[in-house]
Every structure is written in structure tokens, then in C-alpha cells.
């Protein structure tokens, strides 16, 4: 009588299809990923249930953390134009190389007098600089540096894109309300009563 023979099956699976799919997905995610600029201020933003995405042009982001204010303009052309206008206002001449480097910078917190030095720094130096800098000065006199930055950015956006500038506030969750109030007061002096707060998406509803 013949013995019942257990058929041996190969344990290796054909992974070609799986490999194809995974690389397709990988390509998709790489292409859609946006390179994130390093954040000079360590900010943890509060969460909310709102669903509106932050726009990606004609925008200024005011980062507030540790009582300091950092300023970020979105859009390379706007950055360059704003720098020209600020240079004119404060009587500082920026070379074309400085303008080019500034156009790709992220958030900055250098006072206008220090800006030339800040532009030419390497990224390591900038990290150290972010620790020491007092940030951009804001007060209610109407002539502080923040006032001028916002004013000139508004002009630049109006000239180049013919659009109103949007202001976003990115505040650290633990920041005290008076610090935020000081910034919004500056904005309200320029009749900008509408602005958006940047929050992270909250799970659930």
C-alpha cells in the first residue's frame, strides 16, 4: 500500500506586485510631501476642530513663543519686494545676493539693524542666533518694526498680486494672552481686524 505523501509547498511568495505597489505609493508620498522649514521657535500649537486649511500664498505668519516674535512671509517674490521696501524705509542698501538669500529664508526674528548680518549666516549660526535675538519689536506706537514689516508686506502683496494680505498667528499654547493682545493691537492699528490663528487638527468630531 502506498504511503499518503504530504505535498511540500514552497514558502516563498512572489513579491513583485507588492513591491510595485509599495514603490508607487512611496513615489506619491515623496512628491506630495512639502519640505518643512525648520522652526526657529519651539512652538506647540493648540488643537481645534476647525477644518479650514491655511492658505499657501499672500500670507504672513507671526510666530509667538517665549515672549518673542518671529516674522515669516510666504512667497519668494513677496519676500524680495518687502526687503527692498524695508531697505528703502530704513536707509539700508541690500545687495542682490542678500536679496536672493532672503527670498528663500523662513521665519526670522532679527531686528532691522541686524538683518544684513542675519541674512549672510549659515544655518547653524542662525539656530544659535534664534536663542539670543530679542525677536521683532512690537509696541503700540504705530512705528515699531512689526508695524513697518506688515505695512510693507501689504504694499508688496497689493502691488505684485493685487490681493489683500492675510495674517496668521502661530502662538505657543502656553503663551500668555497679553503677549498675543500686544500683537493683535498692532494689527488693529492698521485696521486689520480679521486674522486667523493657526491650530493643529484635533481628532474626533
Amino acid at each position: 500500500m502506498p504511503r499518503a505523501k504530504v505535498q511540500r509547498k514552497s514558502t516563498s511568495i512572489d513579491m513583485t506586485a507588492m513591491c510595485d505597489v509599495s514603490f508607487l505609493l512611496l513615489t506619491f508620498f515623496i512628491l506630495t510631501a512639502t519640505a518643512r522649514q525648520p522652526d526657529p521657535l519651539d512652538i506647540s500649537i493648540p488643537a481645534s476642530t476647525y477644518k479650514i486649511k491655511v492658505p499657501d500664498k499672500d500670507l504672513v505668519i507671526l510666530s509667538i513663543g517665549k515672549g518673542k516674535l518671529f516674522y515669516e512671509i510666504i512667497g519668494n517674490d513677496i519676500k524680495g519686494a518687502t526687503l527692498d521696501k524695508m531697505g528703502e524705509k530704513y536707509g539700508i542698501k541690500f545687495t542682490s545676493e542678500e536679496r536672493k538669500r532672503f527670498s528663500v529664508l523662513g521665519a526670522f526674528g532679527a531686528p532691522i539693524g541686524d538683518l544684513k548680518r542675519f541674512i549672510m549666516m549659515s544655518s547653524d549660526q542662525r539656530e544659535k542666533y534664534a536663542e539670543q535675538t530679542p525677536g521683532i519689536q512690537a509696541d503700540t506706537t504705530g512705528t515699531s518694526e512689526l508695524d513697518n514689516w506688515i505695512l510693507e508686506t501689504r504694499n508688496a502683496v497689493a502691488e505684485l498680486h493685487n490681493e489683500p494680505l492675510r495674517i496668521s498667528i502661530k502662538g505657543n499654547a502656553e503663551e500668555e494672552y497679553p503677549t498675543i493682545k500686544k500683537i493683535t493691537d498692532v494689527l488693529q492699528k492698521q485696521k486689520m481686524n480679521k486674522f486667523s490663528l493657526i491650530t493643529s487638527a484635533e481628532g474626533g468630531k
Partner: protein
């Protein structure tokens, strides 16, 4: 015997010399592992870097002659204090007895006031937010979010300039100013 010979090779002796067939299959396990690792990384980083904008409007402080009158009975004032506490009252500051609550409890109160007012008068609740110096930025975002969750349609008034003495006294007594 009736069994089929499944073993390969084995019994060939002195046959033709065949050229050996090279195996064309490559082990893809490591490649797939790596691909999935990278996918996971990119998925996580892209979804995390999507911030949300919360649009708010503050009242214009220049034109003080244009002042909106609010009906006291339809107004709920929420004062943001320190230690993550709020104080709220309905109506006017002089007569009302404020309630101290935490941010998790305020949602119920807003909903209750909103529904009570709608049932009795058929009108919408107006909310006035007054952040004091003790409040944090998170508190402010939280309370705006609560209004969004409780579906308060009327535009909330954000008032950080005129915090009444009565309100201040109450908050001091409660230890949240």
C-alpha cells in the same frame, strides 16, 4: 511501484551535459521592507504638517461711536481666567452671579443657555468673550473652538479692553485673576 518519481536529477547517470539554468528570481523581501518603511515615514510627516486656520475677527477699536447694543437677557459673557478656569454669567454684570467652571464643563453650559433661550424666546444666544491677563493663548483658542463645536452662529464678540470692575472683583475673589 506505482509512485511517480518526483525527485529531480538523482538518477541521471552519464546523460547529456546540460547547461545549468540560472535562477532569475531575486529576493524582494528587503526591498519591500525598505519601501514600506519609507512610505510610513512620508505618510506620517505629510499628515502632521497640515495646520488649520481658525478665522477670528476682533472689533474695530477706532470707531467707538459705532457701538452695538446687546440685549442683556440674550448675552452670555465668558471671562477667561488663569488656572484654566472660566467664569460665565448671563445678562448684566451688576446683577448676575457668575459661575466658575473648567474648560470641559463650559460646553454643557453654552448648550444649555443656547437651548433655553431658543425655547423661551426663539432667539439666538450672543456670546461675549473676555480674555483677562491670566489666560493663556491655548485657553483663547479652546473657547473659540467650543463656540464652533456648540454651533453658535452669531459672531462672538472678543473684548479684551473693557473688563468691568465688578467682573474683576469677582474673579479676584475666586482666585482666577
Amino acid at each position: 511501484m506505482a509512485e511517480l518519481d518526483t525527485s529531480s536529477g538523482g538518477g541521471k547517470k552519464g546523460g547529456k551535459v546540460r547547461s545549468k539554468k540560472a535562477n532569475t528570481k531575486v529576493d524582494l523581501t528587503a526591498m519591500v521592507d525598505l519601501a514600506f518603511l519609507l512610505i510610513t515615514f512620508f505618510m506620517l510627516t505629510t499628515s502632521l504638517s497640515k495646520p488649520i486656520a481658525m478665522d477670528i475677527a476682533k472689533p474695530d477699536d477706532e470707531e467707538n461711536d459705532v457701538k452695538l447694543e446687546l440685549r442683556a437677557s440674550e448675552t452670555m459673557t465668558i471671562l477667561l481666567g488663569k488656572k484654566n478656569k472660566v467664569a460665565w454669567y448671563m445678562g448684566e454684570a451688576k446683577t448676575a452671579q457668575p459661575t466658575i467652571e473648567s474648560y470641559t464643563e463650559i460646553r454643557k453650559s453654552i448648550l444649555k443657555n443656547k437651548n433655553d433661550l431658543y425655547k423661551s424666546k426663539g432667539r439666538l444666544l450672543v456670546v461675549v468673550i473676555k480674555p483677562t491677563d491670566g489666560a493663556t493663548y491655548k485657553n483663547f483658542v479652546d473657547i473659540m473652538d467650543e463656540l464652533h463645536i456648540t454651533d453658535i452662529k452669531t459672531a462672538p464678540a472678543i473684548d479684551d479692553k473693557y473688563i468691568l470692575d465688578g467682573e474683576k472683583d469677582f474673579m479676584k475673589n475666586a482666585g482666577i485673576l
